[in-house]
Symmetry: C2
Subunit: 420 residues, 2 copies
């Protein structure tokens, strides 16, 4: 159940993908248009940026989820279609209609994402030529999925793919995902996009609950520089085709549970299925952090022993956002003072003597006091590029895990270049 | 009423200062011990870091303000005496007692600040030799005050001094201040310290209210990297000596107003006096931002037209903290998308069409839409090192002003060096 390379990549039943180059990016050879399609109407759920300033595709897609009759998502890179007003909204809806025409479905059953430069209008003529080619190229092969993942990339250096499979009630279920990362450069925002597809059967509210649960512990638990993008989107398509792999599945997935929303509790998907979805999200989220622009270290932050998960997350977020912590890590400096003091201003009710810190397994600070340690050895362990920050408190049982990168001169160089 | 150089520096009546080198810093020639003394008992108020993890001197000084019988503050640089437990508290109290012995006052009437490396115990023998020398060196000259300001420095490249004078009710009042900055390097925190002295007469609660008001719009309105230090301290001493310059003033300043705290309203100091104190704080705060480690641009952020000042401050803070905004400014890139999108995730209830942005006077984004502009000309204006961000909203009359610096490769280099 580890992350796989494209050649090992398994696709869920009755999904196809394509990635083509249509000239939105300045290099005409670069893939910049992706389509993911379910052969049959399927469930889709989405989680979107919380930024008030959000791209037209976010506004269009958000209005269409969750739904039971989805067929596809169309994604372009190189242009975010954000801060583009009414014309941007028209362009986003037009993209979905172009795809829907070729699939023979309603435009409302197609979602849309865009990532890239903001404040520029989409080149309709290029998309008008590219969309038919992408639909013609649709295939259910791992290679097609990898091309789609590559067409989502902006400054990512590698495509990001993940897959998990399990036998649930005697049926082999596959959850596959593709993502692009928080690669921060040029006038682009630090946008992340992810598309998950599964042949499990989920109702819209089940898919929504499962996705929100998975995103909370994955894409919402990574920090690169904390700037909320205009375009962040995570979509989960579930077509139920695993249950009837040899025939076309019903338009409405079978075995949907708990859609009535009789209570305020979100419907529960079976824990093994939730685990598959969560694992794919976490795998993709980690890949995004590993490929963050200029990043030299991959940092895992565990915060344990708080009264609530909210408290633990507040501390993890402050540590992950601290420029002083991130520059120290860039320099392999086991600078416990910066980490401990960051925890101290997280706004959580605690005392200095509540704080215990380990760095790559070495105890540096225990219940409020520095601990003698071999700083050179800890620094050497950080030079591997893997850093594990563990903060323990005696205040409760709640915990969280965050992932982040360091802050390097390369990050600043890439983001300072004049690009407007 | 502009900021002055040390040679023009005016000292309030009946204050003395000294700065000596006692060997806490590795370079024995560097000044590292400062003392500020009022010749007579005076009022003191203080504002301190809100970090739960705070240095021993913060804990000791915080417990002693506001008070009416203060005499002095002793400050060392090179060692923050933070994360040092009971021994650190004992050392901080011992420093105040050493000074008090020589001034013939109670230790409780002396405050203490420390800035520098954290997690190390203070070298008592060096301080025991240095404190008597500093007290012997006390003088009421501008040069002595400048030496004291220099002895507070860590990685500051210049001492920070400011003075304002005005005739209030026929009496010439002087407010003078010295500060050290948020220069971020090594294992040090981004600590700022400031000491203000005035020969105006203020009661403890008046001084407290006046200082909090001034700090809110100065030291609390600057951002370098948002990491709250363990040691931040701003102190205001007011000895009333202007009212009786030729004789020793009363132990309790005369003309104290509103100390009864009969209402929940903080006592008001006369607006002209508040202005002097606020101006000195703002002057010092701007000097701190200009001297921030690695900073290449000085950025003024005006946010206007919100329902509350709190909303305006939330937006200003998010813009000032955004690594994407700060790196764009480092590269003279008029990247309006990063600024507008930062405003969008500040957590303030607004719509994209509420946002209007000017950069160095050029209109870049108006009520939600990009405005055609000469990007090269705007970039050229940014290359002067002065950047003015103006965000206007139509939601109310509240506004705020923040100051910040850019984010440069030099900042990262300085803060990544292995130093623990």
């Amino acid at each position: 159940m580890s992350s796989t390379t494209p050649t090992e990549f398994a696709l869920p039943h009755a999904f196809q993908a394509a990635g083509v180059a249509c000239g939105i990016k300045s290099d005409p050879a670069k893939l910049d248009l992706a389509v993911f399609v379910s052969d049959v109407p399927c469930t889709v759920a989405g989680v979107f940026t919380q930024n008030i300033v959000c791209g037209a595709p976010v506004q269009v897609s958000r209005s269409r989820v969750p739904r039971a009759s989805a067929r596809a998502v169309v994604i372009n890179s190189g242009n975010a279609n954000a801060c583009t007003g009414q014309r941007g909204l028209d362009d986003a809806r037009w993209m979905t209609a172009e795809v829907a025409d070729r699939l023979g479905c309603s435009a409302d059953d197609v979602l849309v994402c865009s990532t890239g430069v903001i404040g520029h209008f989409l080149p309709r003529e290029k998309l008008a030529a590219g969309i038919p080619r992408a639909v013609d190229d649709l295939a259910s092969t791992p290679e097609a999925f990898a091309r789609a993942a590559r067409a989502m990339m902006t400054t990512d250096t590698v495509p990001k793919l993940a897959v998990r499979q399990a036998d649930l009630d005697g049926t082999r279920i596959t959850v596959s995902g593709a993502a692009k990362g928080a690669a921060m450069i040029g006038p682009n925002m630090a946008t992340m996009l992810a598309v998950l597809v599964t042949d499990a059967a989920l109702s819209p509210s089940e898919a929504d609950a499962a996705l929100r649960h998975a995103v909370d512990a994955s894409f919402n638990s990574i920090r690169v520089e904390g700037h909320t993008s205009t375009s962040d989107t995570v979509l989960l398509f579930a077509n139920g085709a695993a249950l009837r792999p040899e025939s076309a599945p019903a338009a409405r997935p079978v075995a949907s549970r708990g859609d009535a929303r009789a209570s305020d509790q979100p419907p529960l998907v079976p824990p093994p299925l939730q685990q598959l979805i969560s694992d794919v999200c976490a795998d993709l989220a980690r890949q995004i952090v590993r490929d963050a622009e200029g990043a030299g270290h991959f940092v895992t932050i565990d915060v344990r022993g708080l009264r609530t998960r909210q408290e633990a997350r507040r501390i993890a977020k402050v540590v992950a956002d601290s420029a002083l912590v991130k520059t120290a890590i860039a320099g392999n400096d086991p600078n416990w003072g910066r980490i401990v003091s960051a925890a101290g201003y997280a706004g959580v009710d605690l005392r200095e003597t509540d704080i215990t810190l380990r760095l790559n397994g070495s105890l540096l600070f225990e219940t409020g006091s520095p601990v003698a340690h071999d700083a050179a050895a800890v620094s050497q362990s950080m030079a591997t590029g893997e850093v594990h920050v563990e903060l323990d408190f005696p205040l409760g049982d709640a915990f969280t895990r965050f992932w982040t990168s360091d802050l390097t001169t390369e990050y600043v160089r890439l983001n300072s270049e004049y690009t407007t």
